[in-house]
Amino acid sequence: MGSYISAFIVGGIICVIGQLLMDGTKLTPAHVLVLFVTSGVILTALGIYEPVVKIGGAGATIPLPGFGYSLAKGAIEGVKKDGLLGAFIGGVQATSGGITAAVVFGYLMAILFNAKTKP
């Protein structure tokens, strides 16, 4: 049960930060998405995001900084294993499932369904 509560709180807080950025500044959702992924990468490299993942679980890996976390962690693990080449293959390797799912499911759903008229 504890893991659900911490996931709720950590995931909620990350989304509130995004909301404040969208309301308080001129940043569009696209800016926020890019900013969050990049911050996820940088925070992971600095060793700040790992403890957040330890506490928040899915609350830290489901929001987009979690995607950056997987990328950065993969790149670092890649360097440990394969040296400089690992910096290029590690990140995408670690996130390949998510990227492929996004491409395949995204394409499939776009083919299956038609755009609704905006409510």
Binding site: L33, V37, G59, A102, M109
Partner: protein
Amino acid sequence: MQKKKQTVQNKKYQQYVEKNSPKPDYFRNCIWAFLVGGLISTIGQFIHNQIEKRMGLSHLDATNATILVMIFIGALLTGIGVYDVIGKKAGAGSIVPITGFANSIVSPAMEFKREGFIFGVASKMFILAGPVLVYGITSSVIVGVIYYFIK
């Protein structure tokens, strides 16, 4: 002279617009973002726990599988038109989770279908996801290269 006058007018107009455009309701928006973002994360945690328990995957593999499932859910809900209804209220609460990433792929892909399957669907899929991948992957490579030299 004419131009200068116009820029002054433009500035005044801009100030007028800023003064009179409705201010966002920060508190209510944040509550919505918190609740919906938290809920999506909790669903993710539930799926993660189920996968870890039932399929006996390692923690990292279970995390990856969870992201896969969440992307599927996000894409499906966008397809049937539910996700945009949630997004109207939830704001960042529906944009920031990975389901929002799926939404950002399916939504323009459906909308531009009439422009064809290459330049419509397949190309417009990445209108938002493209930048995310470009900056995410590039920064991760930079991190990897820096790590290589300082380790």
